[in-house]
Structure formats: structure tokens, C-alpha cells
Symmetry: C2
Amino acid sequence: MSARALPYRPHNHDTCVTQALTDARTICQDRNVRLTPTRERVLELIWQSHKPLGAYDVLAQLSDDGHNAAPPTVYRALDFLQQNGLVHRIASLNAFIGCTHTGEHHTGMFLICQGCGNVLELTAPSVSGAIKVAAEAESFALDDVTLEIAGLCPRCQSEQDETGAPGNE
Amino acid sequence: MSARALPYRPHNHDTCVTQALTDARTICQDRNVRLTPTRERVLELIWQSHKPLGAYDVLAQLSDDGHNAAPPTVYRALDFLQQNGLVHRIASLNAFIGCTHTGEHHTGMFLICQGCGNVLELTAPSVSGAIKVAAEAESFALDDVTLEIAGLCPRCQSEQDETGAPGNE
DNA sequence: GAAAAGTTTGCAACATTATAACATTTCCGA
DNA sequence: TCGGAAATGTTATAATGTTGCAAACTTTTC
Ligand SMILES: [Zn+2]
Ligand SMILES: [Zn+2]
Ligand SMILES: [Zn+2]
Ligand SMILES: [Zn+2]
């Protein structure tokens, strides 16, 4: 899958979303699962924001579409997208964000800016390695890692320096 | 603060809880904050389980006490206990657990057994170090780390080997 | 000690997030 | 084209967490 722009810097976000959808179609074909219109639309809505979107935010936008949707519609689509590695759930926010490392077998590590709300997904082998070692030291059989880091992104740090308060883009 | 038993192995849990409460009193005195009866009782309830307890579980037990409690009572007590480093919230479970490293400035890392539900809190400098480095590489100002690892504890691994299914103590 | 100020709790209502259960429709292979 | 599997619609409900305001309690100040 292609490299993507950082959320912190402006970029052609339409392209960014389009690419994500294209990649998703490919992945679903490869895996022989169905990226139905609802699922695709939910993925698109999530990708249109570099900030995590709550399930009910997605629901509201589906309703704006004229889609007659109820919570299960959204949660089912999100489950599907998660299971196929297309979105991640951010437990500390009860929200969802598009995966920027689809295909690459990875452990997501999320930098969550408390200023602007943007989230950057990283893959840090040194971190996953250290976690694996620590778990093994306890004879713990590792299955799933939740690693979410709250703080301030570079831009919000400088805004805070200047104005005394974090910005909210 | 004194060393504590691992949840995996049987131990005198009354002592374990008593010690935690004693430590908590000391900490609150040092910090000049009030460990009121409600707060202390909530802490005790949480400590009585090595498994994370949901806010409404705590609420139910308070009600059993005859305490006329509503959700805010519990959430406020939990907020207090969190702020003073006496309990942690496990985001992936929406539940709370007593901190086993009170006093020691630390980043909690939690091993959550999917078999028995027990949780072990670790401090792994190699992990926190790697996280810090990764964040710095992105010029991200780290504030709070959520690190929760789901898997199987040693005991549940062997039970699974023997019976084909994880145990539930 | 009494009044003032600050903190904690009680209480009612409400908001948000997530799931259960079952009917209906759509899809896809035989 | 038919029959089973997968996906969606629909309604209701469960689980988790918050707001706002008044009353009670503590600490400080005079
Ligand atoms: Zn990812
Ligand atoms: Zn920011
Ligand atoms: Zn701790
Ligand atoms: Zn276990």
C-alpha cells in the first residue's frame, strides 16, 4: 500500500481518501470478503477525518446521506472494517480511525493530540519488540496490544507556546 | 510501598487489601487530600478483586452495603483515586483496578488475561523508554500512555493445553 | 466560637456508547 | 432458479458516563 501524508501537514485529502478506498477494495478482493456499499461508505466517512470518529458521528453522517441507519448498521460495518484491518478502534476515545498501515502486519501505536484531536498511527518495531520481551518475561501469551499515547502534536505545542492555549483546527 | 503478590498465585488476599488501604491512607496524608469513607470503601472494593471492576459493579456493591449511591458517587470516587495514583482505568475494559505501584512514578502496562480475567500491572522501563523515543522522533509531547495487553496468563495457557478451553477462576 | 469559603456528597435527570433479538432482504453457488 | 449463507433493517434495551444544582460537611478566618 502506498505511503500517506501526515495529518499534521496539509495535503490533498481527497486523494488520500480515494487511495484508502482503492486499497480497501483490493484488500477485500484478496481476502474474498465483501466491501458492500454501506461498509465502503462508513470507511469513507472515517477516512474523511484524520481525527477519530465516534460510531454515532458516523451514524449521523449516514443519516445525512438519507440512509435509514440504526446503530447496529454502523457497529456491524465497523466490526467488519476492524476485522479486515481497515480501521482501528481507539479505546481511550471510543472512536474509530482509518488504518494507515493496511496490509503491513503491524501493531498500531497511536499518537493522539489533545490539542487538535488528530491522531497519527505509527509502527515502532522497537516498541513492539520491547512489549513482546516484557510479556515473555511474565510467560504471558500476547494476543492483542492497545497502545494509545495522548499528548501534543508539534503544531499544537508551538501554538500553545505562542498563545498559552492549544488550538483546535 | 511494599511488594505485592502476583494475582496468578494464591496469597493472603485480606492482607493484600489491608496493605493497599494502609498505603493509600499514607499517600493521601502526604498529599494532603482526603480519603473519605466513600473513597476508601470504593478503593477497598476495587482491591478485593484482582480483576478490573466496572463502575457499575462498584455501585452495586455499595448499594449492597446499604449505601445510597448513584453513579456520580462512584465516578467521583474513582476520579479521585485515579488522580492520586491509587487506581487505574483500563480503557479496553471500561473498568478499574488497584495500582500495585503506588508512589513509584510509573507508566502502567497491563497484562490482561482473556481466560481468567486477572490483570497484572507491570513497569517495564525498556517499553516506556522505547515509547518515549518513538514519540520524540515525531516531536510529539507525551502526556499519558495507555498500554494494555490482552492475552493468556501462564495458568490459563496450561489449562487451555489440557482442556482445550481457557479456565475462568 | 461563629461566619465565610471551599470541598464533598446526594440526587435527579440525561447523554453517550454498545448490544440483543428477530424479521427481511440480498447474494452466490449448486 | 432454488436454497442456504451473508448482510441489513428494525425495535428495543443494556451498559457506561455526565451535568447541574442543592445540601451537608470541613477547613479557614476573624
Ligand atoms: Zn493500522
Ligand atoms: Zn495537535
Ligand atoms: Zn500503577
Ligand atoms: Zn488467566
